[in-house]
Symmetry: none
Subunit: 237 residues, 2 copies
Amino acid sequence: MSFQKVLIVDDEAPIREMIKLALELEGFTCLQAQSASEALPIIVDQRPDLVVLDWMMPDVSGLDFLRRLKRDDNTREIPVIMLTAKTEENSVVNGLDAGADDYISKPFRPRELISRIQAIMRRISKITGDGLLVVGELCLDMKGHCVFVDDQLVAMGPTEYNLLKFFMGHPDRAYSRAQLLDQVWGSNVYVEERTVDVHIRRLRKALKPAADGVDCGRFIQTVRGAGYRFSARLASL
Amino acid sequence: MSFQKVLIVDDEAPIREMIKLALELEGFTCLQAQSASEALPIIVDQRPDLVVLDWMMPDVSGLDFLRRLKRDDNTREIPVIMLTAKTEENSVVNGLDAGADDYISKPFRPRELISRIQAIMRRISKITGDGLLVVGELCLDMKGHCVFVDDQLVAMGPTEYNLLKFFMGHPDRAYSRAQLLDQVWGSNVYVEERTVDVHIRRLRKALKPAADGVDCGRFIQTVRGAGYRFSARLASL
DNA sequence: TGCATTGGTAACGATAATGTCACATTAATA
DNA sequence: TATTAATGTGACATTATCGTTACCAATGCA
């Protein structure tokens, strides 16, 4: 199980805590730093999967710090999201030029930050080097062509496997039955849309034993009138 | 149902069709008019999100028509893209002065038009790059097809979702029941106007749990005799 | 061939969503 | 205040959508 570590660099503790809280609810592990000088060793040692970087810091400017990170081979790969105030929005361009992956202007809704982070996570770390697709407690081994839930092997048919593979590669997004048929079955076959339902059912059943007790759409939610959506964790209840 | 409606005003049908085709591939809904006199009623009662306006029209000059739109309170906010021939390029300045948002000189590549349109849509609509519609404490995830209030997932039916999506895309403006039926239900279905009331009620109810205690039209205000208006701000009491 | 596995479909029950109504409540007006 | 119109609200029947099971065809394999 790979934890997704996020480093929050901001000099205001309340903001750090707010972000931390929101992210931890979504299953991220959070690290904190209140200045650039504090952040650097953490980045080097802990290698977070993502840095959320306030643009206004006491010691070094966000832009300078970002440039430094992107100059260093060791830290270049780590994606950065900028936090900018409304009045600093012109610096956004500089930030993006300097290698930031996204920006959010304060004040922002936690939901927005989370979505951005998830988008970036999705972009960068969908598939590990060894052909593993890991989302939450689900692990799909593309080489071995098998699926683990909480490190436990679960059996399923080829179609269910393909379906799950697609879902894990495209989480948190609703797909219509037609889209799923296109993506998983192929765009040139004709099968009834309801067939998707049946395979969703089979996939859910396959994932269920490991899903502790109640599965209630733990991984696959039905979006009534729209289709189905995969996500690793239940949206906040 | 897409809420990004574009009205194409041009006297040459092939050009209209070409633009229409390109835009529909990108998910826009298209309306057409071949003259200014035909365009005006469409603009008034369908309220497109954007008007693509040919500068050379049989009845009224593009400039005059544009001025008329910008004089009227009801149509002033609707952005306009001019289509100008190479030889008319000096009129671009006049057009921009009169309130046009952008221009494209013919001949143009469809791709270019779409890019410009999308740029304008992005500017005016509150849709972020990730398909998030964020207004105040409301967040509608178009990809995930779900809604958050204060970062808390709220459940609602498809119609309520569509209604809210429309409202969030067109805030601070009152819409009659007939207009809402057109925009949300579609212009070709017949349902009682009072049905809107019921769905407004259901939407309010869905948004209420998060609306601390008193919701009293926190998001959706009724405009007596006119219809309903969505706004994230508290109505001045 | 016989058997097991898988995939697609139909059918049926369960559930959610929808539109409409009746009635309550509120606002506007005289 | 009395009256009227507009809106809010809960309940209902109807319909649409979804979950689930059973079944049969196709496939692969021993």
